[in-house]
């Protein structure tokens, strides 16, 4: 799972509970749900310091 970017998302100025993430070259919408395997991997990489989640635009 090659994660190259992650960014918080806002809708009507509210956090959407979704990260926009590029995994293996594909743009994905990853929910901030610990039971989601992609989110779990993102948070693992954030904890390890190899990935940073950008603020929402």
């Amino acid at each position: 799972m090659n994660i190259t970017s992650a960014q918080h998302q806002k809708f009507m100025d509210e956090d959407t509970g979704i990260l926009k993430v590029t995994i293996d070259g594909i743009e994905m919408q990853v929910p901030k749900d610990p039971a989601n395997r992609h989110y779990a991997e993102i948070m693992k990489q954030v904890k390890e310091g190899t990935l940073t989640i950008k603020d929402a635009d």
Binding site: M1, Q9, F11, T16, G17, I18, K20, D24, I26, E27, M28, Q29, V30, P31, D33, A35, N36, R37, H38, Y39
Partner: protein, 376 residues
């Protein structure tokens, strides 16, 4: 198996707590559902872990030097069984030798709440029997085992393939785990797996009774590693069933629709089953609401409901009908449209999500496909 023997096995399993229907904990054991694709390339320097046919994943672990190969859904199955498809591994570029830390296996992670009836962690823990059909170009002794995630425990077993390129039926019975743990949740509960090759690091510690996992227990008893070193070597698997009891009973066939619905709890796509992801197609495209004349260069959106409730909030990929990921088509009905427009989602849950486009193209509605992944 004769009818009398089949009946005796069923009765024996019922006495151990099995059901006469819905007895198979495995989903898509006949390998008929393949929503993602029908061929999956693996490589030591590329994809080493991926779902294949629905609910089944392949894993290369972990430091192979040259290996590549393919998992594929193929129309090859043992005759007289009613099975029609199987999952096939084919070795592409082979390893010159199998290092101690290299292995390859197939697995299915079973949702915990679906195997709570096994009563693990109690004196009433029930045995299970794993049955499957296997065909391999290379004979020998192979490991197939169970991993229990919540307790981080494992129990191993082996089987022998005696004739090359011939379908063989295998059954393995595993004791109940009176000291185990399977949580009452949507996480991983039990994981049957089939090692295709396994280096020495994974085969040295006897775990033929339930006990703590360590890497040395993973493939205890596995001795045949030639699939790693033989280009063109094949390994087929189908008719997989895991049931309560100490007897293997005949594979429980079910309708394609039933299997598909079970799979969709973990993965769903808006494309037709046989249409590839990111295909350039209008067939099955989803439309947001819109009305002729109500053009806007601003926000367009809709709520999308899943066919089947998901195990957890799903990872979504939105495609436009031209196959661009992370995009939609903004449509001015019957007049003009523009693909490759920005798309996003919000508030995703287990039943659906909000999808919206804030692109600038003057349109009345949005058009898109999606995939939703809630796999373990």
């Amino acid at each position: 198996m004769s009818k009398a023997a089949e009946l005796a096995a069923l009765i024996a399993n019922v006495n151990k707590g099995s059901s006469l229907a819905n007895k198979n904990f495995i989903i898509n054991g006949n390998m008929t559902v393949a929503q993602r694709a029908t061929s999956f390339s693996f490589a030591h320097d590329g994809t080493i872990s991926s779902y294949t046919t629905d609910r089944f994943a392949g894993q290369i672990w972990q430091n192979t030097d040259e290996l590549d190969g393919t998992f594929a859904q193929v129309a090859d199955a043992p005759s007289g069984t009613g099975l029609t498809h199987s999952l096939k591994w084919t070795t592409g570029t082979a390893e010159t030798a199998v290092a101690s830390d290299e292995s390859l296996w197939v697995e299915q992670k079973i949702e915990a709440q679906n195997v709570r009836e096994l009563c693990y962690g109690t004196a009433d823990a029930k045995p299970v029997t794993l049955s499957f059909w296997v065909k391999s170009s290379i004979t020998g002794t192979f490991n197939s085992s169970l991993y229990q995630a919540d307790g981080n425990r494992v129990i191993t077993n082996t089987y022998s393939i005696s004739s090359a390129n011939t379908w063989e039926y295998k059954t393995l019975t595993f004791a109940g785990d009176t000291s185990g743990t399977i949580n009452d949740d949507t996480g991983e509960g039990l994981r049957p797996y089939w090692n295709i090759f396994a280096g020495d690091d994974y085969t040295t510690t006897d775990r033929t009774s339930w006990g703590s996992y360590s890497s040395a227990t993973w493939a205890y008893g596995h001795t045949q590693n030639a699939h790693a070193t033989t280009s063109g070597a094949t390994f087929f698997l189908t008719g997989v069933q895991l049931e309560v009891g100490e007897k293997a009973t005949e594979f429980e066939h079910e309708s394609f629709e039933t299997t598909l619905r079970k799979c969709q709890r973990y993965y769903e796509k808006s494309y037709d089953h046989d249409t590839a992801l990111a295909a350039v197609t209008d067939t099955g495209t989803l439309y947001g609401p819109g009305a002729t004349g109500n053009l806007t260069t601003g926000l367009l959106g809709t709520t999308q409901t899943y066919t089947t409730s998901k195990r957890a909030s799903a990872t979504l990929v939105i495609y436009d009908p031209a196959g661009n990921s992370g995009k939609c088509l903004r449509d001015n009905f019957g007049v003009a449209s523009s693909a490759n427009q920005a798309i996003a989602t919000a508030y995703g849950g287990t039943k659906g999500f909000l999808v919206y486009s804030s692109g600038t193209y003057n349109a009345q509605t949005i058009v898109y496909h999606f995939t939703a992944d809630a796999e373990l």
